[in-house]
Amino acid sequence: MVQNLESEKVDLIIAGISLAPGVARRRRIVNKVMTGLVFTAVVLAMVPLVLILGEVVLRGAPAINLSFLTNLPRPVGVPGGGIANALVGSFIMVGLATLIAVPIGVGAGIFFSEWPESRLSIVSSFANDVLAEFPSIVIGIFVYVVIVLSTKTFSGFAGALALSIIMIPIIARTTEESLKIVPITLREASMALGVSRWRTVIRVVISTGKSGLATGILLAVARAAGETAPLILTALGSFYFPQGLFQPTAALPLLIYTYGISPFRDWQTQAWGAALILIIIMLAFNLSVKFFIGRRPAERAET
């Protein structure tokens, strides 16, 4: 009897399942219920996406026409206000941020992938991971303290710097991932021909992994184009075209925020219009990455 009990216990621990009649039915039902719950989770996760996209299109589309894209903002109540300065401001800041972030991000990514065993690589790669998930508002404060306080003005330059700090870790990580999957045999073949290591890295490794590199840069640009929080503390926003790098500069996400929380109906409508433009830009970037350049390097590495 005791032995029987014990053997049953062992059976329970190892397999965790019982084959007694009646139990089988319950197990099947539990399985069905859990499958249903898991499926519900997927539906619940999809609903917000559909609702957000739907709402942005429904409310944003009526606001968009050619003059909306080419006009400057106008005072409340004056019709015909546009977002041209915000588009230009965003373009300048994201462009400048890309110029700063690409060399640093790609460089660090090369280092992580080609010298993975070095202590610097381990420490820096960890710092990179941490930085990638960092609250962007904290980066905004940092740039405010360092640049805005010392130049005594909110500026497009400060905004670009903040955006570049957000872009660097993304570019570094994707660069590393896309270079790491370049087959070792390619490197060996190149080095066996007497090509030096640095030429191998530049000519063979990078040119093989360049689509992955491009993916990373595109994703980083998309991310920077949608950032708002750090720009509030650095670029501030403006109702005019930027005249230089060292003055307050408008940006698309800033305009959406300012107009969105304003009490004025026509500004709110314009916020939705700008949101639609921004979301079209984001989707274009993200989907083109998916479909034209191929799957993300991380996924390719697994298969």
């Binding site: 399985n31 997927v42 996406l49 609702l51 280092f111 404060i141 925020y257 969105g260 939705w272």
Partner: protein, 310 residues
Amino acid sequence: MWGLTINVKRKVLKGDITLKAAVGVAAVSITCLLGLLAVELFLGSTRSITKFGLPFVEGTTWDPVHDIFGALPFIYGTLLTSAIALLLGFPISIGVAIFLTEKLKTKKAIANVLGTLIELLAAVPSVIYGLWGLFFLSPLLRDFVETPLHRYLGFVPLFSGTPFGLDFFTAGIILAIMIIPTVSAVSKDILNAVPNSQREAMYSLGATDWEVIQKSVLPYARSGIFGATILGLGRAVGETMAVTMVIGNTPSITASLFSGGYTLSAVIANEFTEAASPLYLSALVELGLILFFVALAINVFARLLLWRMR
């Protein structure tokens, strides 16, 4: 002849060293950046640190007019909204990850499409979440969730107060939606990394799908999923725009989910450019410093958990 070889060799070496130095500088600069961030935030908040000291984090008054600053309402708001986000976002994220990896094992194409769609949620800029939250979600929740809950369960402190729509509850829901892509994507990778022999062993004993997931896949992936969740927590803690637009922006500490609140990131975004006195500014930077350390702790913890999984 010899000279030539040595010359070539030296030239090659020089190229190697130059490359390593150049990309090494880039790698170093990332570490320095993180360090510099901490230093500058610390320097920026010295005025407030020397004035208020440690009691800053337990002060409940935030009164810029009289230069009295306490961080507790914001810390409370950040913790409360993040907790709501995890509570709601975690089960959904895990469900998504399980569905995509375990249930669609043989239907990779569908899994890819669904995965891409959920990744798009992460690509939506947070200011658009905020706009949507302000004009769509907040009135919806107020009328169809908060008001009924308050009517029938109003005696519970959590559901007391006047449902207004712009409160901890709405902010928590928005955050839950925003962390789902992060948590589910990382969990998905973790589940994919579980060796198939784990599953096959269970199946061979006659287990159902769910038993395989519950008894052999999830235990194996436990610490990785925990890491994914902590990563989601980090995102919730640092999220600014969406929260700022729906939380009501009133510093308060109350058990009621239906009253307006404030978070660390929201108060920084809202008041930074209006901070008139140096002490005010310094206090805001110190809030940033607190956020920095919280985010740092969360991220390091999550990364350590995830690195161990690899």
